[in-house]
């Protein structure tokens, strides 16, 4: 069955560099620096990445950062909580726009 997403495509991510090596290298350098230990640990950064992967719904990122989170020492409970954080922010973001809806409704209502 043909699908838009193929798990094996993740291994070909670097092929994007073929179109513009200079930009790819800049991205790689930036990406590497972002995930290096800093004020946050690599484990914490992987959990954030896992949560963001769910927020942006990137299946490649979910695969990659599920493995990365486990390999950085996180466990399923922690990873599930990270996904709930993404869920809460996504849901909350929709809900908070309800204020806009209420404002708009108030404006045009008697």
């Amino acid at each position: 069955m043909d699908t838009y997403y193929h798990p094996k495509d993740l291994a070909h991510f670097a092929d994007l560099g073929k179109g513009n090596p200079a930009l790819w290298e800049k991205f790689q350098a930036y990406y590497g620096a972002v995930f290096a230990p800093g004020a946050l640990t690599e484990r914490e950064k992987s959990l954030i990445a896992l949560a963001v992967a769910h927020a942006v719904q990137c299946p490649y990122c979910i695969d990659a950062y599920t493995q990365a989170s486990l390999e950085k020492g996180s466990n399923i409970e922690e990873m599930t909580e990270a996904v709930h954080v993404a869920c809460a922010i996504r849901g909350g973001a929709s809900l908070v726009h309800g204020v806009q809806m209420r404002n708009a409704a108030t404006k045009i209502s008697m």
Partner: protein
Amino acid sequence: MPVQTRSLKARGEALSSAAEQVRLLQSGGGFPRFEETLARASLDPLGATGIAVFQINVGKLCNQTCRHCHVDAGPDRTESMSRETAEMCMAALARSDIPTVDITGGAPELNPSFRYLVVESRRLGRHVMDRCNLSVLLLPAQADLAAFLAGHAVEIVASLPSVAPSQTDAQRGAGVFGKSIAALRVLNDLGYGREGSGLVLNLVTNPVGAFLPPSQESQEEHFRSRLARDHGVVFNRLYTITNMPISRFLEFLLESGNYEGYMRRLVDAFNPAAARSVMCRSMLSVGWDGRLYDCDFNQMLELALGPGVPAHVRDFDPASLGARRIVTGNHCYGCTAGAGSSCGGTTT
């Protein structure tokens, strides 16, 4: 996938045969042979640099049936070192100046000669390590075991894969996390893991699945804070160890469809610096029947020592054995991936 509570051998599985495991591991699958990879890193042939650790595997009897066990140990296994072989081990040790004796199994404490090995090794002035599964300390028949270990200043190297009860139980059996914490408290009460006591308590974590271990340093910090906060437990060091693709972990890899992906992960993560420091270069492994091996993994795969050196502990010769050529295979990718893996944690 159901959690098995019996060994591969008791279930009559083909993988209980060492030859079958070796056949599978060496049958290609598109992976370069380990020896080719070593050669590309200018490390073939791999030679011993001496013997710093005399590791004695006293047998396969264990009170647990962990899913990743490379020994295929369990309550149904009967292989056990005899007193005669234990005495041969101590005679061999006395003929050498090897500083450390590392006793493993199975649950080594269940062997009738375990305490003899500890007492005699200490009498010879050697440092002794006990590879302890923790729950064994709670068995009624072993009520005095923790005090015995403390009394002989035995270093305890204890398995605890995760600070999450669900993950520990998934790998080591239902209820093992709770028992492990109870046993750690017993050890802490004796002074183990506490500063100034001289009683060393090190923990070992293996990944609970088909992935590589985390950074040892960061994981140690994580374990230290979580075990202290949640359970009031302290320890000295944490070792991260990579799961070897043999025995029951190999069974898990095959049944879960992770074999190729895991092997690819190990091969891609080959680290020449880790390979230069693999534990087999500085240790010798003695089997329950006295046969000698380069490491516990080669022992389980029944990969005998190379030619020209004694094959049995009765013929122990530290000079030739300390300069032997190491026997390798594709399972060795497990010790050379990433930061490296040994019985003492990372190798880089």
